[in-house]
């Protein structure tokens, strides 16, 4: 179960990443953030964001145009 969920549906680049960053800042190490997005560019961007910030992208999936990500804060 995620510790926090974030809905960025309808938002475009770079808002989903900026909102995710803000949520992660308020969380503690080891906690999990679940993100929903509709921006198709977010698929690459969330993977890249996690690589660059040292967080872990646990899962990434898509269902009917909605993208789901689970990020563990490191």
């Amino acid at each position: 179960m995620p510790n926090q969920t974030l809905d960025t549906k309808g938002l475009n680049c770079p808002l989903p990443i900026l909102r995710a960053k803000k949520s992660l800042q308020r969380m503690t190490s080891g906690q999990i953030l679940a993100v929903e997005a509709t921006d198709p560019g977010s698929a690459k961007d969330f993977a890249s964001f996690c690589t660059q910030t040292g967080n872990s992208l646990l899962t990434a999936s898509e269902n009917g145009g909605v993208f789901f990500y689970k990020i563990r804060k490191n």
Binding site: G10, L11, P14, A20, K21, T38, Q52
Partner: protein
Amino acid sequence: MFFLKVNDVKVILTLVAEYHPYILVQGDSIMTTPKSMVIIASQGTLDWAYPPLILATTAAALDYRVSMFYTFYGLQVLKKKLDLRLSPLGNPAMPMPISLPVLMQALPGMEAMATAMMRKKLLSKGVASIQTLRELALESDVRFIACQMTVDLFDMARDDLIDGIEYAGATSFFEAAEGATITLYT
């Protein structure tokens, strides 16, 4: 084949660090300086206000230290009362609902129409407003530096521009840009 001793590596890195902005040698520790990005933003139309702000906010989210130099028309983006426009004139790449001959694009009202169209599109596609991006940038400690020379040139008052920004000249750009991992001109 030969092996380097730890001390040799330190000597080599100290030499490299002298010319390399990202490597710091302090006593026994060798470290890299924090990632940083410096952008010169010289454009003041609604469309061109976006790229520097999108990159700046994203870089801040990726833990870069970001400095933005707003100069010439770019200063319009720092105004408290934003009135950013765009013109279809001289911009053949701008998608218009109906294709208009260049002479018609010069008619009064065309600029307002193109601006209104773009605003509507940005809103409907969930793109952040310039105000929002500006606020997000300031919140994440992006440094905004307004070119003092341009402020004087265009008779602008500091009161016209948003709070929390710095005023400086070209010399300050070099101070921030030297050692920056990314430098962009827009």
